[in-house]
Amino acid sequence: MRTIDELITDSPTFAGLEPAQLEFIAGCGRNEHVEAGTMLMRVADPADRFWLIRRGIIVLELYLPGREPLVIETLEPGDVVGWSWLFPPYRWALDGRAHGSCHLITFDGVCLRQKCEADHDLGFALMTRFANDLVGRLQATRLQLADVYGNVPAPG
């Protein structure tokens, strides 16, 4: 059976970290299985953790009053779910729901923040990786926002 520090190297986010760093990070994580429909996070609830998907799909949704929830993005195995634990006020900005049963590694965000404070090398390595993920998501969101498949009238 693979340990958490071995499992997290399957994710592009954590690949390439030093073994000692992986072990340090893994100390804040635990395996978790959730059933279909489980809400991992709800808008405005305290954000004190994040997840790495090992198996299954997590759906990020935006609740719109009077409308069906809008699916913003689906996240796949290898993806990290949740960034709000990193920044004040540590509250979720989206809803996150398990689509089907999921195997996750759940990380204690408070624990990891404290470790990053104590070990700036670890903190820099992690923040660089998280920033890379965030930039990727931002670029994807920009493309999504461009609505490139919509009908656009010709200029002029």
Partner: protein, 284 residues
């Protein structure tokens, strides 16, 4: 690589003079996309290569470049999948079986499907960019044993706007790794949500073995090349199908100029480095 060499080929009569084709079959794919199957009034087959297009017209509504979406190994029918976005395309989509359309072509440089033996081939289609890739997919499947992995990453605006959904399932059963995503969906949608570039990260690609062919909105293709580069895939292993204001189809009028190239004649299929210096220049 990257230095463009224009082609100069003699013209033939089909390039200059429209031929009459009859609509023999038509079906609606989505709210504004129709597939029309045409047969030449002369009865002759219409030979073409994957990636080529014709100049197509219905009545006096004007000629437009439309990629061929049919099977290149079944030239007895010319198949076009058309999105009604303007006067000319709306007239084509409104054509009914028995009606005549005018056709010039085929034109343009093809997808390099015959040069990819042993390669992993990834097709990336966005929206109405899937029909121009369909002939390539069919040709790849007809010679499936010649290639490594075949992947199709397909993205649409919403589940209702996805094309060829029955075929996607069939292609999957025939050995294509099909990944579909949409930009937006309700909770009822069972598949991926997000842009097509996000799928690349999960495709577990082997950069040295991979060749990618993509067609879709230019912005999507630019983001795709960046996503592939992040996975270690060289730009010269990426083929794109470009779209510009093609009118004559034979490299004479110059309307579709893109840098030193004419898309109707030198494209629409290019290796990415052939066009990448020009695509982000607003004035072009």
């Amino acid at each position: 690589m990257g230095t463009f060499q224009p082609r100069v080929e003699p013209l033939n009569s089909s390039a200059m003079v429209p031929a009459s084709f009859e609509v023999v079959e038509k079906h609606q794919d989505t709210a504004d996309v129709w597939t029309l199957e045409l047969v030449a009034t002369s009865g002759e087959p219409f030979e073409f290569e994957p990636g080529q297009f014709t100049m197509l017209a219905a009545g006096g509504a004007g000629e437009v470049p439309i990629s061929i979406s049919g099977d290149p190994d079944k030239p007895e029918r010319l198949v076009h999948t058309v999105k009604a976005v303007g006067l000319a395309t709306a007239a084509i989509c409104a054509a009914e079986p028995g009606q005549a359309l005018s056709v010039r072509g085929p034109f343009g440089r093809r997808w390099p499907v015959d040069q990819l033996d042993g390669a992993d081939v990834m097709i990336v289609a966005g929206g109405i960019g899937l029909p121009p890739l369909r002939p390539a997919i069919l040709r790849l499947l007809a010679r499936r044993e010649q290639y490594g992995r075949l992947l199709l990453l397909y993205s649409g605006r919403s589940p209702d706007e996805l094309l060829f959904t029955d075929e996607l399932e069939e292609w999957s059963q025939r050995g294509v790794e099909v990944m579909v995503t949409v930009d937006a969906a309700s909770a009822e949608w069972d598949g991926h949500v997000g842009v097509v570039t996000r799928l690349v990260r999960h495709a577990r690609l082997e950069p040295a073995a991979l060749v990618a062919m993509t067609c879709g909105p230019e912005l999507m293709m630019r983001f795709l090349v960046a996503a592939l580069s992040a996975q270690g895939i060289r730009a010269d292993r990426v083929y794109v199908s470009m779209e510009r204001n093609m009118q004559c189809g034979i490299g004479r009028c110059g309307h579709c100029q893109l840098g030193p190239t004419l898309v109707c004649r030198d494209g629409p299929v290019y290796r990415w480095p052939e066009v990448s210096p020009w695509v982000a220049i607003r004035e072009l």
